[in-house]
Amino acid sequence: MALDKNGIAKRIAKEVQDGYYVNLGIGIPTLVANYVRNDIEVEFQSENGVLGMGPFPFEGEEDADIINAGKQTITTLPGASFFDSAMSFSMIRGQHVHLTILGAMEVAENGDIANWKIPGRMVKGMGGAMDLVASAENIIVAMMHTNKAGESKLLKRCSLPLTGVGCVKKIVTNLAVLEVTESGFKLLERAPGVSVEDIQKATEGTLIVEGAIPEMNL
């Protein structure tokens, strides 16, 4: 059975390691924070200028001056810090942030990513996504395997304007976990009950299947 958004977030949470500073994009990535093991030490950075984000505030305790990059009211944990935008992107560009998790409209088998613009439609902008994907050593894309029209989002070449080139390392979708390799999308894991054929059918780009593909352990 294909995963839902929370399932994807749950699977990605397993990629988060002890001692990681992590930047979470808007959407599914935001949910990842809910599933990180609590026996490891992880800090969440938001590019608008906070490190050490905690959960949402209790009702009545919201502060307009303490938000995340999704403009949501948040709290901070002990050890947190606030800083300006230039310093925030120093953390990102300088690769001090270990892991970036973000959504995508398309990913190509060479690691290109498109997630900011659909020609002809109102374009909202790239925000910090172009800095994040151009800088992070470790980028995981969280997305549905196909779009609303049922078309694959894992392509030979992106058709939409790019956000970054050759930068995506891993993709977790509702159907599978895939690694971007020199020869294409290498299938690592299947969602529970999803077959390799299902994944193949939903993948336009080159899919590499080697040996038996295990089911995700969630």
Partner: protein, 233 residues
């Protein structure tokens, strides 16, 4: 101590004229110079090029200037949540230059710090880099991005003093410190103007040298865009 205090918002915006380029601090509606924006709306100044991470919402922030058709061009990283913006943009009335958020911050910082341009990896291989110089360093590609040239920078801080020293609060800090000194004239508005000497010299985020005018805003609405909360258990 060089005194930067002006009587109020009218003196603070003196000299802003049609077709100027102005920077505005803030991320979403957090940390925006509410009083300066309100005064610019009243002033009727037109044809502004605005450098600001976002463009406000329909009835607040830079959205107020958009609504009065006072903005000719926006330079931003993200401009969602604004119907009037969308209408003006799609009709071609409003020119929009979208740039990566880190690039925006660093082009401000370059202007502040006297650097003509910076090499950033952001946007390499995308349409953002089209027509721009690119260059390899240590096997990685970078795009040359130039320092902003602006006439005014409008920033908002939490506390400040007549010497122009500023302290920001929480994530309302964002682009505000990077814009100080990045334009010919920097106008800072603060929630609280404290007596000179009260701020700890060790804890000042922006020294007064980067600020030309300072005043205490009359009031701050500090609107929340996404009120997210959790229930007490």
């Amino acid at each position: 101590m060089i005194n930067k205090q002006v009587a109020g918002v009218q003196d603070a915006i003196a000299g802003v004229s049609d077709n100027m380029t102005c920077m505005f601090g803030g991320f979403g509606l957090s940390g925006i110079p509410e009083n300066a924006i309100a005064a610019l709306v009243k002033s009727g100044v037109k044809g502004l090029t605005c450098i600001s991470n976002n463009a406000g919402v329909d009835d607040f922030g830079l959205g107020l200037l958009l609504h009065q058709h006072q903005i000719k061009k926006m330079v931003s990283s993200y401009v969602g949540e604004n119907d009037e913006f969308e209408r003006q943009m799609l009709s071609g009335e409003l020119d929009v230059e979208l740039i990566p958020q880190g690039t925006l911050a660093e082009r401000c910082r370059a202007a502040q710090a006297g650097f003509p341009a910076v090499y950033t990896p952001a946007g390499y291989g995308t349409e953002v880099a089209e027509g721009k110089e690119t260059r390899e360093f240590d096997g990685k590609m970078y795009v040359l991005e130039h320092a902003f040239k602006a006439d005014f920078a409008f920033v908002k801080a939490w506390k400040g003093d007549a010497a122009g020293n500023l302290i920001f609060k929480g994530t309302a800090r964002n682009f505000n410190p990077n814009m100080c000194g990045a334009a010919k004239i920097t106008v800072a508005e603060v929630e609280e103007l404290v007596p000179v000497g009260e701020l700890d010299p060790n804890q000042i985020h922006i020294p007064g040298i980067f600020v030309q005018r300072i005043f205490q805003g009359e009031k701050y609405e500090k609107r929340i865009e996404q009120r997210t909360v959790r229930k007490r258990e």
